[in-house]
Symmetry: C2
Subunit: 148 residues, 2 copies
């Protein structure tokens, strides 16, 4: 499943992880490749599923989500469909990881207020026992991987 990538591939990945909207020709300049060769490399990285997409990063506070929380959910049994349905509906749930350990799921949830968070927690509590931690600050905002 893992793929062999050379220095140029990694240079491209690094650049696009930092500034995904630079032009192909600018990217080519930075990695010392012609525009057409750069296009081909990027196309390959996309086709191989190494680059899975490009996303704008939004400031949650500025768009109205003043509360960010990490929720751990202890989910008894193995009927996961209802939870998946909730994840699809409630767009306030930004991320959901299934993990080992006592808490089966770790979710990241954005809310506009504590009241809003409370309502979301009531929904989640229907699935199992929850542990909620409010996020003070993103000590390290998400960054992508570098060459192993």
């Amino acid at each position: 499943m893992a793929v062999n990538l050379d220095d140029v591939d990694w240079a491209i990945i690094d650049q696009l992880q930092q500034e995904a909207r630079i032009s192909i020709s600018e990217l080519g300049r930075r990695v010392s490749l012609s525009a057409s060769a750069t296009t081909e490399r990027v196309r390959q990285l996309e086709a191989l599923g190494i680059i899975t997409g490009y996303r704008a990063v939004i400031d949650l506070t500025k768009v109205g989500y003043q509360v960010l929380a990490v929720v751990r959910l202890k989910y008894p049994g193995n009927r996961h469909q209802p939870l998946h349905r909730l994840l699809a509906e409630r767009r306030e749930i930004l991320e959901c990881l299934r993990t080992t350990g006592d808490d089966c799921y770790t979710l990241k949830v954005a809310a506009t207020s504590m009241a809003h968070l409370e309502a979301l927690m009531d929904e989640l509590a229907g699935f199992g026992s929850t542990t909620t931690s409010i996020v003070y600050s993103q000590t390290l905002p998400y960054r992508g991987p570098e060459r192993p």
Copy 2:
């Protein structure tokens, strides 16, 4: 700190959260605006700090990080500099949130193998007691916020 955004702003945000590399004219078509007006809107969203950047999303497994873990760190005392130094150095730490509750920090860590993860955990254990959960799957890969 929060900002007032109209429908067009949100349409732009939605599009760029999904496909950050589309051209300005394509974006303009999708939100029914001319290219120059679209450029101006996007510039404003960036200048206001609502859009904080654009990032390529990389498949961790395919580039060699077979293990993803969520680590909760109980950090006694309040000397946070050493931890911040580690976060800057160890690029395997992809994210770090400071939270309320017993565990002061929640980290997301990528490793190439269990041995690699073990070494990372030894480093983190120097800061306090840790609780580690291996991620089975991203039930919901990260997505951005929608209009509140």
